[in-house]
């Protein structure tokens, strides 16, 4: 890899910082959540940076008010707090109000899935995809590396409406070294395959690629798709791609069977009368308090590479040759 992997938030915040000099309409609101790059925004644009304190409800309301006054707002907090602590504010003053009044608010949630590894279930986030995709008028963006996270900046500025960017808190390997993701398509085909296609989002893209590599060594060539725009992907293109497969595996770092990417794709293939069967990889069961590395935790809850490899192998073997 020629590009050094960086934290998603640092890259996105750097894009925002660089744009704020030119674009006087950008306002940055934090709920007492920082980063070294954020310090540059605080120092250089104090009149368009505000820290509301540990007050996510007010984070959303103040952001809505600023957006109604014409600002392009970036609101920033830890993922579970910026989505769930203030869900009704998001529903009423962003999703609902944007139906009537144009406004541009971009919620940046840091800490997708297990990325706050040792902080436990309050700071980990397994429900956000489900909750945020339930809201009309909302766009849910889930990048798998810092290149995609940074590339979303232009879309955030140019596309009106509320958006949720689900960022990983850890530095992840670069997936788009030479090939920039096609943001308008909403997904990217990393490799084509036979019969089985893995559709992953966020961190789980890296697991999907690992598993695909192991499967290739076993003689199974599977497709791998990065779904980074969960709400506005090109449905016709995705249908065309998926219709070539007999089995689809969804991979997400969120609860399984509770309305996340798995449910979205179930609905998608049912509505479009695709014949593929599905296997869903997601966090099994309820909240967990175990400690360990992210990889260890993933194996415990049914989303680690080893567990996924076994599940997908069994899934592949369940199809007639």
């Amino acid at each position: 890899m020629s590009i050094k992997p960086l934290a998603m938030r640092d890259v996105l915040l750097d894009r925002i910082w660089r744009a704020m000099e030119e674009d006087k309409k950008i306002f940055f609101v934090s709920a007492d959540f920082g980063s070294p790059v954020l310090d540059k925004i605080r120092a250089d644009f104090p009149e368009r940076f505000v820290n509301v304190g540990i007050a996510e409800q007010n984070l959303i309301n103040v952001s809505a008010g600023l957006a109604l006054e014409g600002y392009t707002v970036f609101a920033y907090a830890i993922a579970p707090f910026i989505t769930m602590r203030c869900y009704e504010q998001i529903r009423v003053s962003l999703a609902l109000l944007s139906e009537v009044r144009p406004m541009n608010v971009n919620l940046i949630g840091v800490g997708a899935g297990f990325s706050y590894v040792v902080s436990g279930p309050t700071h980990q986030c397994y429900e956000d995809i489900t909750l945020m995709r339930a809201l009309p008028n909302f766009r849910v963006l889930s990048p798998s590396d810092h290149v995609t996270a940074g590339a979303f900046f232009d879309r955030c500025v140019s596309t009106k409406g509320p958006k949720y960017l689900r960022l990983d808190a850890q530095v992840l390997p670069v997936l788009y070294d030479t090939n920039a993701p096609e943001l308008d398509v909403g997904f990217h085909i990393h490799q084509g395959g036979e019969k089985i296609c893995l559709v992953a989002t966020g961190y789980m893209m890296h697991t999907a690629l690992k598993v695909a590599e192991s499967l290739a060594a076993m003689g199974y060539l599977v497709g791998v798709i990065d779904l980074f725009d969960i709400s506005n992907f090109d449905a016709e293109q995705l249908q065309a791609v998926l219709s070539a497969y007999v089995g689809i595996v969804t991979l997400e770092e969120g609860f399984r069977g509770r309305g996340g990417v798995d449910a979205m794709l179930f609905e998608f293939i049912a509505r479009r009368s695709l014949s593929a069967r599905m296997l869903n990889i997601g966090v099994e069961g309820a909240y967990r308090f175990e400690l360990g590395s992210r990889e260890e935790l993933h194996e415990q809850v049914g989303i680690g590479p080893e567990f996924v490899l076994n599940s997908v192998t069994t899934f592949i073997q369940s199809f007639p040759n």
Binding site: I60, V62, G65, L66, E69, Y71, E88
Partner: protein, 272 residues
């Protein structure tokens, strides 16, 4: 626009009658909480307090009026119609198919800035507007009208702390302090004690007024709007829920009570 006190009183009386008439036609509307804030809205809109544009309701040169106590603002329907935001005929179609004036006002109604009815949102959004106006160098003001029961919602207090921290002296909170929420007197539920004392302790400038003495309300609003001392401002308007309707006025369950059509008819006849 200079309006005489007599004219303001006449207008408030007309709004009171029209509000009752709307409720007579659409009993789904919340009438008691819409009768406590009539003088507040009449003073804001007719008393030379608010700058507004009924032809371009969202024009940049308007003062922003956020009506957070949504369902308790049915009295705004005749006011907005009278001022030309929409036709007076619409008042005949409240809560009816094809109309846009619902039981709880939505921002599809010209003159309504935000989503209301779900309580405790208006002040926070208004605070963001006030910060946005200051940042872009505008001299426009934000007025937020809420109920005292609504102040039980904690998000308000996040906004109250934020507004004083940022010295938002273009932000005005008007509390329709009728002291009754749905299930009874707020003092028996979760008492605010003295709201003025509480808000002052949070760094706000506070005024109190009899919310049914329209000239006092108007004077207080003009005074608070003129004052720019680096503090957000609140007007606590002491009011009566169900004002002017026997049996309804100040009844602990007035929020969910509907006066009988015959009573409304006789009140409208007597008050001509």
């Amino acid at each position: 626009m200079k309006v005489s006190t007599t004219d303001l009183r006449d207008k408030a009386h007309w709004v009171w009658r029209e509000s009752l008439a709307i409720h007579r036609r659409a009993p789904e509307t919340r009438i008691a909480s819409s009768l406590s804030c009539i003088e507040i809205f009449v003073a804001l809109y007719y008393g030379g307090v608010l700058r507004f544009d009924s032809v371009q309701p969202l024009a940049e040169h308007r003062d922003r009026c956020v009506i957070s106590k949504g369902h308790g603002s049915i009295c705004m329907y005749p006011i907005l119609a009278d001022l030309g935001y929409f036709s007076l005929d619409e008042l005949q179609r409240v809560c009816k198919a094809g109309g846009f004036l619902g039981g709880i006002p939505d921002p599809v109604i010209p003159g309504y800035e935000t989503v209301n009815g779900s309580l405790g949102h208006g002040l926070g959004v208004g605070t963001g507007m006030a910060l946005g106006l200051k940042t872009k160098g505008s001299d426009r003001s934000v007025f937020v009208v809420c109920g005292d029961g609504e102040l039980h919602e904690g998000a308000n207090w996040e906004a109250i702390m934020f507004a004083s921290q940022h010295k938002l002296d273009n932000l005005h909170l008007i509390v329709d302090d009728n002291r009754i929420s749905m299930l009874g007197y707020t003092d028996d539920i979760v008492s605010h004690g003295s709201l003025s004392a509480r808000l002052s302790a949070f760094g706000w400038d506070c005024l109190e007024v009899d919310g049914h003495e329209i000239e006092d309300v108007q004077a207080a609003l003009l005074k608070m709007k003129a004052k720019k001392a680096g503090k957000p401002k609140a007007l606590i308007a002491r009011t009566l829920k169900g004002h002017g309707v026997p049996g309804l006025e100040n009844a602990p369950l007035s929020h969910i009570m509907n006066p009988k059509p015959e009573l409304i008819d006789s009140l409208l006849e007597q008050s001509l």
